[in-house]
């Protein structure tokens, strides 16, 4: 089934042969492969980021046994059914509970720390790359004052993105952030360890929202595969990061529905969440901080506010 | 003797010249011109005829000057660069000279967007300095701009220019005046003087450049009718500086006495300006107040005019 994106508002003329050879989606298949394939995604400039990633994970696991005093108490108290804590906590505890403690305890803190540092680094890098714009006063002669300027509403209305894509990506990102924050299970853990918790939404709704997120993820995956202009850009790296993002949601969903009772499921859930947090500043998920800095501070046609900075730093 | 005009004779003789200003009517009725001419005859050496002042349509300066000649008053025809290109300007100068008009004042002219025809196409083909040079070339070499064949007949002209010592950038104003003198100006009428210290400073710079000998400088004088007029001039007319002392005096004066106070201030300024070395006369710009000019000149002790 070829996903036929609705005709975009861009070309309202009646479909008709255009002098250039029309562009059938099907034939594109051959032409796309003719384009030179991209090198292996490991050769990307992102290599340092990924090496840093694996290093951190290894360190986290190594550091787990010594520092788990605090968490084991909380784990024992919770005695939640998901973890296989039924066996008595003998000296050689199962590797799964060790990993689970590590993933939930120090690894989480470490990943949060690394993500925070990463975002700070991006902020500093961003500051160094842009320079402050000094607005000089300008004077308008009568003639140019009369020139008509399309109102902001008109400009926004002729925005350049699809309505379908806009709603899909907006809801995807919204739930992506909301679900983990407002999940009752997460708040439980948060409350027990820090005695503070965010308001949480009822579990069935959270569950339904997770399914929406996973569905949207699938939609984006399909779009990446089927829409030619996206496929030509996509590399294995994009697919990997997309799956990385969906990882915690899928495993969380499986855990919630007890698809399998093996402890590895929870470990996978928490580990993938840590990985996701860690990946934000160092991989293409860095478009999150970039968007905030660029669309808020850099002046440009699509800047949300009157940007006070411009690209081209002091260098 | 460059033109034989009465103004030139007075200035050559070293007398303290007095000129006034007259706005042509906004129509064809010659009566107001005649009335004003009668008021000013014998009181002043020459009368400026404005050329569509502040870009508002009036009778043309040449026609009104010719009417003044008929009434025995010597006109100073103002010529702006706003309305005519170089062909029209040169033909107008030749026409005016043929009609017997001897004095010409070369000014840039107020911008047309300030007047009643903002939609007009601006000309500004040449600017005031180039107009002065053009007039001198016509008079001395009898040659039209950029051509070598002589015009027939003499072109006696006494060339005047405007100078505004009170407009920014101030340091440049003296040198700008010297530039116009080098271009060929014979006399100059400055913007209205209220801040005498600033005017003296400008005169001092002009003297250091030695421009005050070749070109006679007439200080511009405007009698203030009311405080409202003074405030309007300060805020809206560019290049006019009225010190606070005069403004407070005008504000203090009661309504009916304001005019008398204005004339009093005017004569004080004239007396102070006369002491400044290099000032060869005054130019009284009393538009629509011509009937008060005799009183001002008399108060300044400049009557009777030299024959």
């Amino acid at each position: 089934m070829i996903l036929q994106i609705r005709r975009s508002p861009y070309n309202t003329r009646a479909p008709r042969a255009c002098t250039l050879e029309p562009y059938p989606v099907r034939k594109k298949e051959a032409r796309v492969s003719a384009l030179e394939r991209r090198e292996h995604w490991l050769a990307k400039p992102r290599l340092p980021g990924l090496v840093f990633l694996f290093l951190l994970l290894g360190m986290a696991c190594a550091g787990a046994p010594q520092t788990d005093a605090t968490t084991s108490a909380s784990r024992a108290a919770s005695a939640d059914a998901t973890s296989s804590a039924t066996k008595s906590p003998g000296p050689h505890r199962a590797i799964t509970s060790v990993l689970y403690d590590a993933a939930q305890g120090p690894a989480l803190r470490l990943c949060l720390l690394a993500a925070g540092l990463g975002i700070l680094y991006r902020a500093w890098q961003f500051r160094r790359l842009t320079r402050a714009l000094h607005r000089q006063p300008f004077a308008r002669s009568a003639a140019s004052r009369a020139a008509r300027v399309p109102s902001a509403r008109e400009v926004r209305r002729a925005a350049t993105s699809h309505p379908v894509m806009k709603t899909a990506s907006f809801s995807f990102h919204l739930f992506l952030f909301l679900v983990p924050l407002l999940l009752p299970a997460h708040n439980l853990i948060l409350h027990r360890s820090l005695h503070v918790s965010l308001p949480s939404i009822p579990s069935p709704i959270a569950d339904w929202l997770t399914m929406v997120v996973v569905a949207l993820g699938a939609f984006f995956l399909a779009r990446r595969i089927l829409v030619p202009r996206v496929r030509v850009l996509s590399t294995a790296y994009d697919y990997a990061v997309l799956l990385l993002v969906l990882g915690p949601f899928v495993t969380g969903l499986m855990a919630y529905h007890h698809v399998s009772s093996s402890p590895w499921l929870m470990i996978a859930h928490v580990a993938s969440a840590d990985l996701l947090l860690l990946a934000v500043p160092f991989t293409k998920l860095g478009h999150m901080p970039f968007l905030i800095f660029s669309r808020f501070f850099v002046s440009g046609e699509y800047a949300w506010r009157q940007g006070r900075r411009a690209w081209g730093g002091s260098a | 003797m460059k033109s034989g005009s009465n103004l030139e004779k007075t200035l050559q003789a070293g007398h303290f010249a007095v000129t006034a200003e007259l706005g042509p009517p906004r129509g064809t009725d010659p009566a107001p011109v005649e009335k004003k001419a009668k008021l000013l005859r014998g009181v002043v050496d020459a009368v400026n005829v404005t050329d569509n002042q502040s870009a508002v349509v009036h009778m043309s300066s040449i026609a009104c000057a010719a009417l003044l000649l008929r009434h025995g008053v010597e006109p100073v025809m103002q010529m702006t660069c706003r309305d005519r290109n170089r062909i029209a300007i040169q033909s107008d100068i030749l026409g005016a000279s043929a009609l017997g008009i001897r004095n010409i004042l070369c000014i840039s002219g107020d911008h047309h967007s300030l007047g009643d025809q903002p939609g007009a196409k601006k000309v500004y083909d040449i600017d005031s300095t180039q107009l002065v040079a053009l007039a001198r070339r016509l008079r001395d070499e009898k040659l039209v701009l950029a051509s070598q064949d002589e015009v027939c007949g003499e072109v006696p002209l006494f060339i005047g220019t405007a100078a505004n010592p009170f407009a920014s950038p101030y340091e440049l104003r003296a040198q700008l005046f010297a530039k116009k003198v080098r271009a060929g100006a014979d006399f100059a009428q400055t913007q209205c003087v209220f801040d005498v210290a600033m005017f003296a400073d400008w005169m001092e710079k002009v003297r250091s450049l030695g421009a005050h000998t070749a070109c006679r400088i007439l200080a511009g004088i405007i009698p203030l009718k009311s405080f409202r007029m003074a405030r309007y001039m300060v805020e809206n007319v560019p290049g006019i500086v009225i010190p606070d002392s005069i403004l407070t005096r005008m504000e203090a004066a009661p309504k009916e006495k304001a005019a008398a106070e204005g004339i009093q201030i005017c004569s004080e300024i004239i007396r102070q300006v006369k002491q400044i070395e290099g000032v060869a006369g005054i130019h009284i710009m009393a538009i629509e107040w011509e009937h008060r000019v005799p009183e001002i000149v008399e108060k300044a002790g400049l009557l009777p005019r030299p024959a």
């Binding site: 861009y10 250039l20 030619p228 202009r229 996206v230 030509v232 850009l233 478009h287 669309r295 699509y302 | -």
Partner: protein
């Protein structure tokens, strides 16, 4: 920031000196924009939402090779990754992408806020340093 590239290639052999100078100048261009290029290319989520805002893409019957992100990645991305050491044919491909398929009208919309025109302009300046101009 003139770090790094100064010591490059002063051999006496004429041919290689000339190319060394070219490489030095390309290095300087890349060095000046290094951070902006890496940051932008990393931030690009390959979502291809910028395509619809590009009239060349729309007018060419939506050929993906005209989408701004494709142009940016396949011009400056490739140059940057290989530090400017591209073969002649690759440079021709880059120059055709940077000049013929892009009018540099600065209007491509990127939801993330990447300045695609600067990337393509940077690719153009590298091509110019290399002595390659639009056909």
């Amino acid at each position: 920031m003139e770090a790094g590239q100064t010591g490059v290639g002063r051999q006496r052999v004429n041919g290689s000196t000339a190319s060394a100078i070219v490489m030095h100048r390309i290095g300087r261009v890349l060095q000046r924009n290094r951070q902006m290029i890496t940051l932008s290319l990393q931030a690009c989520a390959h979502c291809a939402l910028c395509a619809e805002s590009c009239f060349k893409y729309v007018h060419s019957g939506r050929d993906p090779r005209f989408s701004p992100s494709y142009k940016a990645i396949n011009t400056i991305g490739k140059i940057f990754r290989k530090k400017g050491r591209l073969s002649e044919s690759e440079y021709q491909a880059v120059s055709s992408l940077a000049w013929e398929s892009c009018a540099l009208c600065m209007r491509c919309y990127c939801p993330v806020g990447i300045s695609i025109p600067s990337l393509i302009a940077c690719a153009r300046s590298v091509c110019r340093e290399r002595g390659i101009f639009p056909r």
